[in-house]
Amino acid sequence: MSATTERRQAAVPVDVRGSRRALAEAAASRWPGVSVFTIIRRAALIALTLTIITVLLLLPLLLVFTEALSHGWRAAGDALAAPEAWAAIRLTLTVAAIAVPVNAVFGTAAAWCIGRFRFPGRTLLMTLIELPFSVSPVISGLVWVLLFGANGFLGPWLDRHGIRIIFTLPGLVLATLFVTFPFVARSLIPLMQDQGAAEEEAALTLGATGWQIFIRVTLPNIIWALLYGVLLCNARAMGEFGAVAVVSGHIRGQTLTMPLYVEALFNDYDWVGAFTVSALLAMLALVTLVLKLALEWRMGRRA
């Protein structure tokens, strides 16, 4: 933007009077740098971008929905009504319903810690929080197997006490927790650093307790960023594949979340079923996208 303005100003000399060339330059400067080649180059770039977006993003999305409905609404409805499909949806919702609130609480606590205080190991803590982003989800699942699996570190002890973590709901929740941990903390840390602790200190000198400060001062200041983080966290929690695939055990109707169920159906050549459940996940993605835009708009307006 500023580069354009500069170029425009540079293109219009102060003493242009009479000179035809200068007039032409001035006219051209309304659309800076406009020549036929430029127009072609820009059009080509735009066309390329649109093609890539269409082929890589829109077409697959469209395909998911058309395949899901390729045998009519009824077949798609039946696929969703299957008890195993219901079990997968319920399991996914359950995992998200546990993992997201837990991560919202701990993510906020971590962001508060990092954003408000200077202490030794602060950078290390920040790196640890972002670790799940740089580790392959499969590894994130595998660590739990290594820790709690039958041959794992704590496996024999858990076995003796009749506690099962791997191939059960707790395992799925743990894997999801790990993978989605950074989202809330990451969306809050820059904001909390930016806002500083002055308002909280003011509240403290005015007699507020820690809890009152959090509810009345801290939370209202971070609420939109928090919702943003929760939204992204939820999308990932419901869509996560790699980490949960490792700890799931693939027991139909019991430990298959929606993404895993899609794969199972796909391997059974049940196209309609696979794409119908996929369509449901895609719709979740679209809803997430709309909410994300709304939150970004809201946060931009406040800033």
Binding site: A198, E201, A202, L204, L206, G207, A208, R216
Partner: protein
Amino acid sequence: MRDLRKLFGATAALDGLNLSIGGGEFLALLGPSGSGKTTLLRVLAGLEFVNAGSIEIDGRPIQGVPARQRRIGLVFQHYALFRHMTVARNVAFGLEVRPRKDRPSAAAIRARVEELLDLMEIPELADRYPEQISGGQRQRVALARALAIEPTLLLLDEPFGALDAKVRRNLRVWLRGLHDRMGLTSIFVTHDQAEALEMADRVAVLRAGRIEQVDTPERLYAKPANEFVREFLN
């Protein structure tokens, strides 16, 4: 009569500092940046802790008292108003967060807020948000908010630092008048010697966490304790 004593040792920011202030007094902490003025205010408010020394108000030690129970009003340099609350809610905050048995009724709080905003000469701003008002107005809101809890001691950190020269001059006179009318005991931090000498009953000149001299403006000029004080005042 409020008597306040502090003794700090071995800290870099405050290096064996002694000071007392009488009830109703308006005391200025004057010194170059980094001399420990703001640290001293934060220690008094309970936001910062000392490694050694003691602080007493009315003969009672207050180190063990958490910030929220000290009833010391602090006006921050950049006001630190609650940005998501209206001016009225900002001022009411200190009353609304009291435990139920000490909390005035909603109507009483409203009346008190109105009264304070009148006193600050900004009754028309009650429903505005901090970002919608000017720096000088924010200053008054911050003051009203601090006064709402009826503080035993009012602390002002560079109260005019963020304001332009003309607003600053008007506010100085007004603030001093308010202090006298309300019978407050106040300590204010500044690095502007003219401001300190014009407003304060006594001025404490700080350097590197130590007090070089505490005296009335007249005597400070007439008899500076050392070369630093003399140079800083000119």
